[in-house]
């Protein structure tokens, strides 16, 4: 009896030790995350001013602001959304609502999985050879947006698929039993309820796209272009590329400006994430089933 109690105790003790170690390891991960963000905020916040956000860079990037890069990134986000959203949603609707479980469908699903694993730099190469060279768009907003759009597709498709699958099956059965066609069912009884999930996934994937550098290196990004773009065939500056350039290729760059650029980029990406979280919370409250 005594021996058994002792054994129990040592097992309990071992459990405690193990959990403390797991907790410490988790802490080891959490601390750098918080530190990284605080570090950028602390060093960058001082340089952010109205002028920094609304003026083009001057004096070899060492002074002035980052206005053209902000505008460029926003254009790229909009362009990416215009291409990837319709295509992504339609593919997902097809996959969930129409596709039969055959070899073709399985191939599509496998392709989506593989698209999501392709390195961003390979997307950059592909975008360059297809859009910039082959289709003669030149380095332009159009080429960059298309490249980013293809990159975002897998995330949007996966999110849309999950959203569609979470709509109860009964909705479809009732609609069909009332004589609605397949398309009417999808349009009026499934899509409206899947929209929150779709929006959440889309905004998240766009925030990813906004922070990407590798795919835009050769397809759109300009080193220095103080004016704003006039058409979709213009080059633009973009925040992530700007940060890359000023932190690696401009000698004696004041660190303050690099930090501030990083801070604006992080803030933009977090803002988009926040929007998606709020959307999710808002719609979850309204959900009635």
């Amino acid at each position: 009896m005594l021996a058994k109690g002792k054994k129990m105790n040592s097992a309990k003790r071992r459990e405690k030790v193990a959990f403390v170690i797991l907790g410490l390891i988790t802490l080891l991960i959490v601390v750098p995350i918080v530190m990284t963000i605080l570090y950028v905020v602390k060093n960058g916040a001082g340089a952010i001013s109205w002028e920094f956000l609304t003026q083009p860079p001057r004096n070899g990037m060492k002074q002035g602001g980052i206005f053209p890069a902000i505008v460029g990134t926003i254009f790229l986000i909009i362009g990416t959304m215009l291409f990837s959203l319709p295509l992504g949603i339609l593919s997902a609707v097809y996959l969930v609502e129409y596709a039969k479980d055959n070899l073709f469908t399985r191939l599509i699903k496998l392709s989506v999985v593989n698209l999501s694993g392709i390195p961003s730099i390979v997307y950059g190469l592909f975008g360059f050879t297809l859009f910039v060279v082959f289709l003669r768009f030149g380095t332009s907003i159009l080429a960059g947006s298309l490249t980013l759009a293809i990159m975002s597709l897998p995330v949007i498709i996966t999110a849309t698929k999950e959203a569609l699958e979470s709509v109860p099956f009964a909705f479809r059965e009732i609609s069909l039993s009332l004589g609605a066609s397949k398309w009417q069912t999808v349009r009026y009884c499934v899509l409206p309820y899947a929209i929150p999930g779709i929006l959440t996934g889309t905004v998240l994937s766009l925030s990813r796209a906004a922070g990407e550098t590798a795919p835009i290196l050769f397809t759109v990004a300009a080193f220095y272009l103080p004016r704003l773009p006039h058409s979709i065939f213009d080059q633009v500056m973009a925040l992530p590329y700007h940060l890359y350039v000023i932190s690696t290729q401009v000698p004696n760059m004041p660190a303050k400006i690099s930090f501030a650029t990083g801070l604006v980029l992080i803030a933009l990406v977090f803002l988009m994430n926040l929007v998606s979280i709020i959307l999710r919370a808002h719609y979850r409250k309204k959900k009635q089933w």
Binding site: I29, V40, I108, L110, S111, I118, P240, Y244, S258
Partner: protein, 269 residues
């Protein structure tokens, strides 16, 4: 979708094949020198591939134990409020753009490692590995956590019924049952690390030599494409060589993702 995958492959293949018209495949695959602007140029991708493997290996060694342990903590140990906080922190980490982490590598981590380990330069494989490990954590944590949560409750209850502590149940029952999901997490982590470009371009020192240790400057496949593409003339051998490197990357990630997908499918059964 199939069209996209196939066309990405074909466009890379088309330009890569143009290289092999003038440069032998064997020299490309097994050559030990990457000297694209010397005369005659040499496009041996071994140093770049090794660079990628070194950095990836370093990152995975650091990232997997940390990631799996914290996934265990989040999934089974943490109380529910802490779980939410930790999960959102991991999401925040996933949202930080890679170029920002690369920048931090340049201004802080690189110099810090140089002083601490007395290196010639802080821009080396280790800096890259550390940052990449950090970047791959969200992937590893969230997928391992899903795998751990996906283990049927009955397993755990049966273990408790037999008098196991929570730790014994977690370590001996839940973790082994989730193993194929965790392998998938590791594979996807590797895929993420090997394909990451900006961080390695910015912090690993950009020297395409045969790497011998992680404390030296080296260069990866991805960084080579990103770094040299801007300097090449369209249609030159060098240009096509970079597409050949892209093709290699595509094939590597394709295989890794395929394995990960198989593991995930097995885990779901």
């Amino acid at each position: 979708m199939i069209l996209f995958v196939v066309s990405i492959f074909l466009f890379l293949l088309k330009d890569a094949l143009s290289l092999f018209g003038v440069y032998s495949v064997r020299d490309f695959l097994f050559g030990k020198n990457w000297l694209p602007i010397s005369d005659p140029p040499k496009f041996g991708m071994v140093p770049l591939l090794l660079g990628s493997l070194y950095v990836t290996f370093g990152a995975i060694i650091i990232c997997v134990p940390l990631g799996v342990c914290s996934a265990m903590f989040i999934a089974e140990v943490a109380p529910s409020y802490l779980k939410h906080v930790l999960k959102s922190l991991v999401e925040i980490l996933a949202a930080i753009p890679s170029v920002v982490l690369g920048f931090i590598g340049i201004v802080w981590l690189g110099p810090f490692l140089r002083n601490w380990l007395h290196l010639n330069t802080g821009m080396c494989g280790l800096t890259g590995s550390l940052l990449l490990a950090f970047m791959a954590l969200p992937t590893v944590i969230s997928i391992s956590e899903d795998a751990l949560i996906g283990v049927p409750k009955a397993y755990k209850e049966a273990a408790f019924g037999l008098g196991a502590t929570r730790w014994q149940a977690l370590w001996r029952i839940i973790l082994p049952s989730a193993s194929s999901g965790i392998i998938a997490a590791v594979m996807l982590g590797i895929g993420r690390v090997i394909g990451e470009t900006m961080v390695v371009l910015m912090v690993t020192g950009n020297s395409p030599v045969m790497p011998t240790s992680l404390l030296q400057p080296l260069r990866t496949l991805t960084a080579t494409i990103a770094g040299e593409m801007g300097e090449t003339v369209g249609g030159s051998e060098h240009y096509f060589a970079l597409f050949a490197v892209g093709l290699i990357l595509f094939v590597i990630t394709f295989i890794i993702n395929f394995i990960a997908d198989l593991c995930l499918r097995k885990a779901r059964k």
